[in-house]
């Protein structure tokens, strides 16, 4: 039976549209994965001598912080790891035992980058412990215990998937614990360290870890087994819909029609809500630069770079996927009496509004001085004047459909590697950086501000011209785009 499943899986993997699409992406993803594996490997080897040099006991340090590592791992998994159950519907009525199906689905989740990555530091670190004269039995049993516990994260994730009510409190408690630890109020790691150290000191403890893992597996199995019905575990979650008319947008005429839909799009779909969250995170991106936390980021050029991103988070994450946001109903859009100009203008205004809101929200940067906030403001002007058009232009070449209902696609999306989109990124960031540097070094920061803002204002003049160009691309690429969007 497993032979058949295995065959199905390999076919699903090699025939998936993501893999078949583009060799370059495969290579880049491969490089990224190798890079992380390599870094973790180096970390595993280097950890021991570095900590030793600091006069610490490496094993104790690892045990101390393992709890934070585990929760961090869980968080990453929660957002990024895909659940294994969705494609087993067709198997339900076949001559396959339901238990086998569930075992397979859960087993499949074990074979994942998210599980393998830990071994890349755990094994080298274990080797380092052995070389440095720790008792082999104790080290090996500790190794297996920790590996089992990290694998348990995988099953915990399966249990709490999509249960925000469980996930956020857990993360909240651990964050609070981390804060308490940081400010020396209360050190929870003293206790967790004891637990993890116990696996080293009493090698027989590995039995507990393995039993824990087995129990979790059993729970997950029961959980999925009992919910293997179309109306329970496999059911699609339906939202309760409420009609919203946004009558106040009617004053924007034709454009208001699209603006209404775009707001609904942002509100009601997982994937697009992710962009809104991302743009809020981008607002805080500047803290890395303006708190002088990182030496290299003090250069004036990098300060503009940050300024562009603080206000432009939404613009970049949303704008580069216009018109892909409308991919699931593109044939409708193409057969209705729609003026491309109104359509584009609506998206443009949405980006402008978001940029302005971000800039206002970012006013807390004033505590770092008016010059810092000025960087953000001129960045916003450049974003509105120039970048808003450039992202729309870049988006016109993107032909990857967006599945609005899945939030997980937001990360590691292959569109990021589109060559033409990448080329358009250059003027988005490099030009304002160079302009500012030019003003800064030849005269003063103020001249830099004026140059960047001036370029932004000049960009306005080309708005209609730019829309015409994008419109032409939409027209010439129309059939290809429809065909590509159909491919889901």
């Amino acid at each position: 039976m497993f032979k058949h499943f295995f065959m199905l899986e390999t076919k699903a993997f090699f025939r998936s549209s993501a893999l078949g699409a583009n060799l370059a992406i495969k290579i880049i993803l491969g490089i990224v994965a190798t890079f992380y594996a390599f870094m973790f490997c180096m970390l595993g080897f280097a950890m021991y001598p570095i900590l030793k040099e600091q006069g610490l006991n490496p094993l104790e340090v690892v045990n101390k912080y393992l709890i934070f590592y585990m929760v961090f791992d869980l968080t990453i998994r929660y957002f990024m790891q895909k659940m294994p159950v969705m494609n087993i519907k067709p198997l339900l009525i076949l001559n396959v035992k339901r238990n086998t199906v569930v075992h397979f689905a859960i087993g499949k989740s074990v074979i994942s980058f998210f599980n393998a990555i830990h071994l890349f530091w755990l094994i080298p670190f274990t080797v380092a412990l052995l070389i440095n004269g720790h008792s082999p039995i104790n080290v090996l049993m500790w190794h297996f215990s920790i590996a089992a516990i990290l694998l348990a994260d995988n099953f915990i994730n399966l249990l709490i998937n999509n249960k925000d009510a469980v996930f956020y409190p857990v993360v909240g408690i651990v964050l609070a614990a981390a804060l308490c630890w940081y400010y020396d109020w209360y050190d929870v790691t003293v206790y967790t360290q004891m637990v993890f150290s116990a696996f080293y000191e009493t090698p027989i403890g590995v039995i507990f870890a393995l039993v824990f893992l087995a129990l979790l597996y059993w729970f997950v199995f029961k959980y999925y087994r009992n919910r293997l019905y179309l109306d329970t575990g496999l059911a699609k979650k339906n939202d309760i819909a409420k009609t919203e008319n946004f009558g106040w947008l009617d004053q924007f005429g034709e454009m208001g029609v699209f603006l209404k839909n775009d707001i609904r799009l942002l509100k009601r779909n997982k994937r697009s809500r992710t962009t809104v969250v991302m743009s809020v995170i981008f607002i805080f991106y500047g803290l890395l630069f303006y708190t002088n936390a990182i030496e290299q980021y003090r250069a004036p050029m990098w300060q503009v770079f940050a300024g562009i991103f603080v206000s432009g988070g939404f613009l970049f994450t949303f704008g580069q996927f216009v018109p892909s946001w409308d991919s699931s109903y593109y044939p409708l859009m193409m057969s209705q009496n729609i003026k491309y100009k109104d359509y584009l203008a609506s998206k443009w205004w949405l980006m402008v509004i978001a940029t302005v809101i971000s800039t206002i929200l970012a006013s807390f940067y004033l505590v770092f001085g008016w010059k810092i906030y000025m960087l953000i403001v001129v960045g916003a002007i450049y974003n509105i004047g120039v970048n808003s058009h450039l992202v729309l232009l870049g988006g016109a070449f993107v032909k990857t459909p967006i599945d609005l209902t899945s939030g997980k696609q937001a990360f590691g999306n292959k569109q990021a590697f589109n060559v033409r989109t990448l080329l358009i990124t250059v003027p988005k960031l490099l030009v304002p950086m160079l302009l500012y540097a030019l003003g800064f070094y030849t005269y003063s920061a103020e001249l830099g501000f004026i140059l960047v803002a001036g370029a932004g204002l000049a960009g306005f003049a080309f708005r209609n011209k730019m829309f015409t160009v994008i419109e032409r691309i939409y027209r010439t690429e129309k059939y290809k785009t429809i065909a590509a969007y159909k491919g889901t």
Partner: protein, 231 residues
Amino acid sequence: MINVSQLSKQYNGTTVLNISDLYIPSGESFGLVGNNGAGKTTFFSLLLDLIEPTSGHILNKSVQVNTSEAWKPHTAAFLDESFLIGYLTAEEYFYFIGDLRKQNKADVDALLSKHEEFFNGEILNSKKYLRDLSKGNMKKVGIIATLIGKPEVIILDEPFANLDPTTVNRLKKIIKELADDPNVTILVSSHDLAHTVEVCNRIVALQKGQIVKDIQTSPETLKELEEFFAV
């Protein structure tokens, strides 16, 4: 109203549609029948300029569809779910289409109340987004949306599929009403010969992309078609 000449569509050298000449006069109710892969949806997609013809062209009210967009204001279509916006409620979707077709809210409301029976109480105020409706209910929404703004050309692909028997009868009534209107040209495709014969005054059968029958509906039409498609 619709004039097709030398139209062909090929994929990788395989011809999936080849219509040398077809004229659909204004006010006609035109039924397209054929087996899977006969080219029905391909023809409708070409009519809506969603795919590019390999050769030839279609004129819709003297507008060549693949070079001008002036056919859009008087044409409405529902081919499949990609004509619905999943994250809208039915009302929002109707008003959106209404806005695009220069209809105010009252116009749309009037149309909706006229077809309230067709919705069978499962669509308006249902607290569901279109993506969460059943296939049949999605179809009802799509079909009624094509009627917004009194288009002169209405294109429906497989409108009878997925509908319950009562709704099929109601839909037939709606299509017959439209067929009686001399200002409306309606194009319907179907696998169901009986339904098509009942609502259309002209039937064209496609086979492997070619027109193999073109008949004005008469009492003998159904029999003739059934014989043609018999195994």
